[in-house]
Amino acid sequence: MGVGIQVENLNAWYGTTHTLQDINLHIPANHATALIGPSGCGKSTFVRCLNRMHETNPIARATGVIKMGELDIYKDASPVEIRRRVGMVFQRPNPFPTMSIYDNVASGLKLNGFRNRRILDETVERSLKQAALWEEVKDDLKKKSGASLSGGQQQRMCIARALAVDPEVLLMDEPASALDPVSTSKIEDLIFQLKSQYTIVIVTHNMQQAARVAENTGFFLNGKMVEFDSTHKIFTNPKDKRTEDYITGRFG
């Protein structure tokens, strides 16, 4: 089950570049929240702060408070513990090339030392079903390499991999940007189904996608969050002039 996320005064830097400036926002539990904005506006950095992936880059740093439920993720836990609770799907499918499909999906558990065979089998099946990939791969789970699937299948496998650790929050950084339209619509269907169980944050450059899958939408520009509201409101009646310019395409 998902938890809500409270972000207070979040600032982030890459070297000397101030990529996120005073972000304040509340992401509700068990809903999909979309983040839109032009490239380089900081929306990717923002989701990477939510599971502390931002700090894997040695020149990056962040200040502020992010609370998942009551847990202050920068104070009360280590990055590793946070990432076990927050799943992430990346822009490009990134399967482990040396592992079978089964091992790919089970990797989050196996690499963390989980050994129970029965539960592993169940989890792999459940996650692949949740990711709508089970029917396509169930016959050669352990025979085929994860890298041998098509791009769309790989991305769904990566979603299954993220779901297998039973996270509370699922972050998706432009999950469909490298995929064809058919695969994209499959991923969107998935998000639609998953959001009843997980808190989903999805970064997208595709406004229609945001409108289709998310209840709430935030608009980022130049490292600031310009506006955050229900998706319906953002797309029909934005408060800010810049948001309006962006969604109507009057924006470089």
């Binding site: 089950m1 998902g2 938890v3 809500g4 409270q6 509340h26 509700p28 539990a29 068990n30 809903h31 998942m68 439920g69 009551e70 847990l71 202050d72 009360d76 836990a77 280590s78 590793v80 513990e81 076990r84 609770r85 558990l109 963390n112 030392g113 989980f114 129970n116 539960i119 989890t123 297998a164 650790v165 039973d166 509370e168």
Partner: protein, 350 residues
């Protein structure tokens, strides 16, 4: 509805991780925390394991520093006797008399420099030819087998080269190549005196054969890192293939090629076994390339285990120290040159 669950959890959870899970489970009475969540929440932060892992890796890589430092210090401390006795003059004196304890390294320095440079003189043009052939002219199907062969050449142990040189190269030098050189180039004074087959020239030839693969494979790497656009640019101006190679490829990679040659030089300076077996082992300085000589490395190999007396041993270790320092300097310069070219090179063309 959206903020509801948050306020629900506020009361119970005053933080540590497990409590939070309970709290979030309470919001959704549908399921108890899954076994997976339970397991993962009990795993530690892994901070200690991560730190110790990083520390062990760092320690192993620092050991490379330590090895170099340790070699340096042990060589200095063991050669102290000779360093104190002869000082800098050690490198300019010709004497090598273990009986009276009088030592100087000049003949070995001469032998080392003479054989190494002669080897470079033979090997560099050939290596360049091979590299040009492999990168620019060779049909694709031949490329793999030929580079495989040159790699094999690099994998043959020094002592086997030496064995071959003793039984094949030495007779050739003695019976055919030597007399031929004497007849045609004898007037230069480089090919005089009695020719036993062993000597500076034979050592240089076997050295050349040994460093060829090193230089040619490095040069090949450097030349393939020249972007294809450079080649096409020159060809588009109507250049012939050779002109393209000269201006488009060789000019762009010359620093790297000099670096590769220096690396070859480093190998030649320190090469021991094959040289020891064919150079004749005689501490003399002679203009004739037929004359037997001695190199820094081969005098150590030959006399170290029978060195009696502390000063004798110490002098040999000082020779080792000199060899160590010279090869370090040569290699350092060479590496910097190769790096300067291959670093920042665009993705490999060809």
């Amino acid at each position: 509805m959206t903020t509801e669950p948050e306020s629900g959890s506020t009361k119970s959870a005053l933080s540590p991780v497990p409590t939070e899970f309970v709290a979030s489970a309470v919001e959704a009475p549908v399921s108890a925390p899954s076994p997976i969540r339970e397991f993962l929440s009990q795993r530690g932060s892994g901070r200690l394991a991560d730190r110790s892992f990083a520390a062990v890796m760092l320690l192993c890589s620092l050991s490379i520093f330590l090895i170099v430092l340790f070699i340096f210090f042990i060589l200095i401390s063991r050669s102290k006797l000779s360093l104190l006795a002869f000082g800098w003059k050690f490198f300019t004196r010709q004497a090598w008399d273990p009986v009276s304890g009088d030592f100087g390294a000049l003949p070995f320095i001469y032998g080392t420099l003479a054989t190494s440079f002669l080897a470079l003189l033979i090997a560099v043009p050939l290596a360049l030819g091979v590299a040009v052939f492999l990168t620019e002219l060779c049909p694709r199907s031949l490329r793999a087998p030929i580079s495989f062969l040159t790699e094999l050449l690099a994998a043959i142990p020094s002592v086997v080269y030496g064995l071959w040189a003793v039984f094949v190269l030495v007779p050739i030098m003695r019976d055919s190549l030597g007399p031929f050189l004497y007849k045609t180039l004898g007037w230069t004074g480089f090919f005089e005196g009695s020719n036993f087959g062993v000597g500076l020239l034979t050592a240089s030839i076997i050295l050349a054969i040994m460093i060829l693969p090193v230089i040619s494979s490095l040069t090949r790497d450097i030349m393939t890192s020249v972007p294809n656009s450079q080649r096409e640019g020159v060809l588009a101006l109507g250049a012939t293939r050779w002109e393209m190679i000269r201006t488009g490829v060789l000019r762009n990679s010359r620093i790297g090629i000099v670096g590769a040659v220096m690396l070859g030089l480093g190998r030649a300076l320190g090469e021991t076994m094959a040289v020891t077996m064919v150079i004749g082992n005689h501490a003399d300085i002679s203009k004739s390339l037929f004359a037997p000589g001695y190199t820094l490395a081969s005098v150590i190999a030959n006399e170290f285990s029978e060195a009696t007396g502390d000063l004798y041993l110490s002098a040999l270790i000082e020779i080792g120290l000199a060899l160590f320092l010279v090869t370090i300097v040569v290699n350092a310069i060479a590496r910097l040159m190769v790096w300067a070219v291959t670093r920042g090179a665009p993705a490999r063309a060809a």
